[in-house]
């Protein structure tokens, strides 16, 4: 050690240490902001889910009560069903649309217009979207009156805009454009050489999809569908504006719990909100894992 110490001749050039602390100080407002308005309020939900609303002691009562309450379980179930339906349906249709625009032999301006439309449509949600579908599919809506003129009234055959199927049709409006936006780079990454190579080797169109294209695209298709699932699972404003809060979704129940203690148990409200965060966290984790698998092919 002493030998090493004696060897030093000039001090090493290194940045002055006080600069570091200035930088730390500079990022403090962000962390302070994030803590105060995002992390602290969110952790309140976690903490109070495990807290007795009277004694403030630790309890699992709220969480267990979730699984005992048919009304709440039903809300979770409908939210999950609607999210599954619109993420898989919107995912498949969005993929077909993106593939048609990018590789379907359509004029090239179709692609850029589709991307712009999808950017608008995935952002056009909530109250105005609900109204647009009321104008189209309510009993006096444009499409329904056209169908009535043709002698077919869907409202006589069990269709209503304000329940499960109607809401699914509305959700699709922001689901498939999101799919198009996110999946387009993956379709771009599908090299033309792979199609040519498999055609040269005598593969049929089916074989190309089964053995080449789908295995490469599947992780990103699945990953994006998971993202769509989360997108629909957390949606509130569209459903609220469309049904006036008459549909039993998790977000709607939380909304009415927030207006006044609709469940008659504050602890249950927190546990319900926590349940949503858990579902969303699982979805985002799944997306991240699949995204990492995708990146291998998209360089």
């Amino acid at each position: 050690m002493t030998a090493l110490d004696e060897k030093r001749d000039a001090p090493l050039a290194r940045p002055a240490p006080h600069k570091m602390s200035w930088a730390w100080l500079g990022v403090m407002p962000f962390f302070l902001f994030a803590f105060l308005f995002l992390i602290y309020p969110s952790s309140t939900i976690v903490v109070r889910s495990f807290q007795d609303s009277v004694t403030h002691g630790f309890t699992l009562k709220n969480i267990l009560a979730l699984f005992d309450n048919h009304y709440i379980l039903g809300a979770y179930w409908i939210s999950i069903e609607i999210s599954l339906l619109t993420s898989v349906g919107g995912g498949i249709f969005g993929f077909l649309l993106a593939y048609a625009a990018i590789r379907g032999g359509l004029p090239s301006f179709m692609r850029s217009s589709l991307m712009t439309f999808c950017g608008v449509a995935s952002n056009f949600a909530g109250v105005p979207l609900a109204f647009a579908f009321i104008a189209l599919l309510s009993p006096t809506g444009l499409l329904i009156s056209w169908l009535r003129a043709l002698g077919y009234n869907p409202y006589f055959h069990g269709f209503t805009l304000y329940t499960f199927w109607g809401l699914s049709i509305v959700y699709m409006y922001f689901q498939f454009p999101l799919m198009v936006l996110i999946i387009a780079p993956a379709i771009d990454g599908l090299r033309r050489e792979w199609l040519e190579a498999s055609e040269n080797l005598g593969a049929s169109s089916f074989q190309y999809w089964r053995y080449v294209a789908l295995p490469i695209l599947l992780p990103s298709i699945m990953g994006t569908m998971i993202l769509l699932f989360g997108n629909s699972f957390g949606a509130f404003a569209t459903a609220q504006a469309l049904t006036g809060g008459q549909i039993n979704l998790v977000t709607i129940v939380i909304g009415s719990q927030l207006r006044g203690d609709a469940l008659g148990d504050p602890g249950l409200g927190y546990a319900m909100a926590l349940g949503m965060v858990v579902v969303m966290a699982l979805a985002i984790t799944g997306y991240t894992v699949l995204q990492r698998r995708t990146e291998r092919w998209l360089r």
């Binding site: 570091m20 930088a23 500079g26 990022v27 077909l96 379907g104 105005p128 957390g234």
Partner: protein, 260 residues
Amino acid sequence: MRRGNRIWSWIVMIIGILYFFLPLLATFIFSLKAKLGVLSFQAYANVFHDPAFVYNFSYSVLWAISTIVVGILLFVPTAYLIRLRVPKLRSAVEFITLLPFVIPAIVFVFGLVRTFSHPPLLIVNSPALLIAGYTVLSMPYMYRSIDTGLRSIDVRTLTEAAQSLGAGWGSILFDIILPNIRVAILSGAFLSFAIVIGEYILAQYLAKPAFAPYMAYQIQQKAYEPAAMAIISFALTWAAMGIIALVGRGNGQAQVGGGH
């Protein structure tokens, strides 16, 4: 085989176009029917002459601009310092900026209301809480836009050049870095604008005047005016996206977002 593919592509595309335009067409036609028997822009005139609309809409614009200003002031220095001085905090910041995706807006506002509605944190009635909430909701888009912008310029060289010419930190950030990433900031800003203008949940539950809650209320009251408002809202979204596409031309990144 190729020709068959093209026919399928057209069929899929036409279904997509119908899905996209039919609801808008229905809304537009409906919005023109305010006068019995003739098509007119009466509903639009009613909307623009309605003081309550002007009041609520102006507030939404005010919230949107405040959110953008707070976002720029808060995120530009942070993204800059993370990139240049404290890269070890990068993953922490990325985690935080992604959190609003994981926490649905209704759960987020639930947390906000319950946290800030009793002393010592009784600020649930303050507009500051609403703007802070909007800043959180727009954070994934705003922060990411700024960070992408910083990635495309040589932050280190610019900083060192400015320093050796004697610039202080304030002028480095606001005279050098900010103008160089203005395209990225603009696209983040317009996306935030579209999100805040269309946002319903926060304003509704924090009981503040805003466009979306007003429109939701009008749906229960009137027929033609909400249709006109839906068209106005759509035109605004379209304008914001169009400007983003225009200023960001060439960097090819798709903007994804929204509050449903």
